[in-house]
Amino acid sequence: MSNKNKWLDYLLNIDRKVVYVIIFLSVALPFFLNPVVDIQPTKWVSAVYDEMEEAARTNKPIIIGFDYDPSTLAELDPMAKALLRHAFSRNIKVLGLNFIANGTSLAATTMDDVAKEFGKEYGKDYVFFPYLPQYDLVLLNFGDNFRKSYTQEFRGQPLENIPMLSNLQNYDDFHMVIDLSGTKLPTIYIMYGVTRYHFKFVTGCTAVSATEYFPYLQSGQMIGLITGMKGAAEYESLLKTKLNLPTGDGMRGMASQTWGHLVIIIFIVIGNILYYVRRRMNMEIK
């Protein structure tokens, strides 16, 4: 009995470094195993894909808000790259926005890197607007004319010199707006954009904030939602099956996601079993 007690105490109070090593290995080792190749997309991710295809059919540009910083890079950058690959492969022009100061250079680099893959030219096929504070006012003014808030693009050129922007004025000239963010910015887009100007709006969010956007999906204020790394993997899976585009980091990380999740579930189960065994033993002693 005292041996059992000792093991129980040891396991219940196990050094946290042991837990850290187990979770690290569960994430690192799957990279050396066979990768996950097929993920079934959910209806909200499929809705985003369909809307993007509609943008290609109507030949209208789209807006993507790259509102993330390095702290949410792992979840949102694969999403951003998948959306950009889809857009550029279907010759959809992209206007990039940014309201998170720490993510400005990140967004500019991501756009340039993916554009290079498809031979797209800055100013003709895509353009990136600089960071501005007071995003609520900027989004509101965008609905009238984005030139009220922006006088030049990120590289410093006046907007009049950008060929892509010559016939564009406000949300009506774009097929849809996508916001990729780990903050409350998608809600701000809805409040100051969708409510007044009624454009099609899609969110790519971190998994942490996903549950709070489902009311907007149900009410129709949002038409699609891509959630975290799994959402990115689902979108990449759609691109692979329908357009034969290569998958990216979203799909690459799914094997590690699988093992990481299983380890956490096992920890929860074992932790609870040990807790109840210990509680029963204490009751027996009493």
Binding site: A74, T104, Y131, L132, Q134, G156, Y192, A207, G253, I264
Partner: protein, 205 residues
């Protein structure tokens, strides 16, 4: 293995931050303090090139829009925040910015109240019994959760039972949130491990 020196720098800082898991150490503190200094410097440059230069300096110097000197002065007045005696001057530009929340009042009411209530009321209770029950769950569930948050009336009797049902739905929602949070956290770790194994060491494709 990468030959890019910046990848090696990135790998060094990644490992330095990871070393915190062992225990707090000078390597971690070194990386942390560099991050703070560089972040603030980054913010200054981004704000200068993206906001102040194109919207304040260039219009005044090149286009003669001297009226913009007023918001420039107001922005400078915010620095009086650091003075004990005349710090109240910093409230003036702050008051100007806060006033814009007046637009948020009707916007929030329309976006997060009226449209949401409309969507709840307009749920089509059609289809099989399961679809109807699920639709009713949203209507009744939203009311129940709102009752749960109403603390001006004691949660007893019918009100108590309704609030209890609301709290059950909240627990299901928070459980879903927790499940997503696990994926979010593991994703962040996957990002760093992929960088170390692929971009730095080159041992995975």
């Amino acid at each position: 293995m990468s030959h890019d020196p910046w990848v090696w720098v990135a790998a060094f800082f990644t490992i330095a931050i990871f070393s915190y898991l062992w225990k707090e150490n000078p390597l971690y503190r070194f990386a942390e303090h560099i991050l703070v200094g560089i972040s603030v410097g980054y913010l200054v440059c981004i704000t200068w090139f993206n906001v102040l230069q194109p919207k304040l300096v260039e219009p005044i110097m090149n286009n003669g829009e001297y009226v913009l000197i007023i918001p420039g002065i107001m922005a400078a007045l915010m620095l009086f925040r650091f003075s004990q005696k005349i710090g109240w001057i910093s409230f003036w530009p702050l008051a100007f910015l806060i006033g814009f929340s007046g637009y948020a009042i009707p916007t929030v009411i329309e976006t997060n109240m009226l449209t949401q209530i409309q969507a709840t009321v307009n749920i089509p209770l059609t289809g099989g019994w399961f679809e109807i029950a699920s639709g009713l769950l949203i209507i009744v569930g939203t009311l129940a959760c709102l009752v749960y948050f109403y603390f001006s009336y004691p949660h007893k009797g019918v009100v108590g039972k309704t609030a209890q049902f609301g709290s059950m739905l909240l627990m299901i929602s928070f459980g879903a949130s927790f499940g997503f949070t696990v994926m979010a956290r593991i994703s962040l770790l996957i990002g760093r491990v992929l960088f170390l194994l692929r971009d730095w060491l080159g041992v995975v494709s």
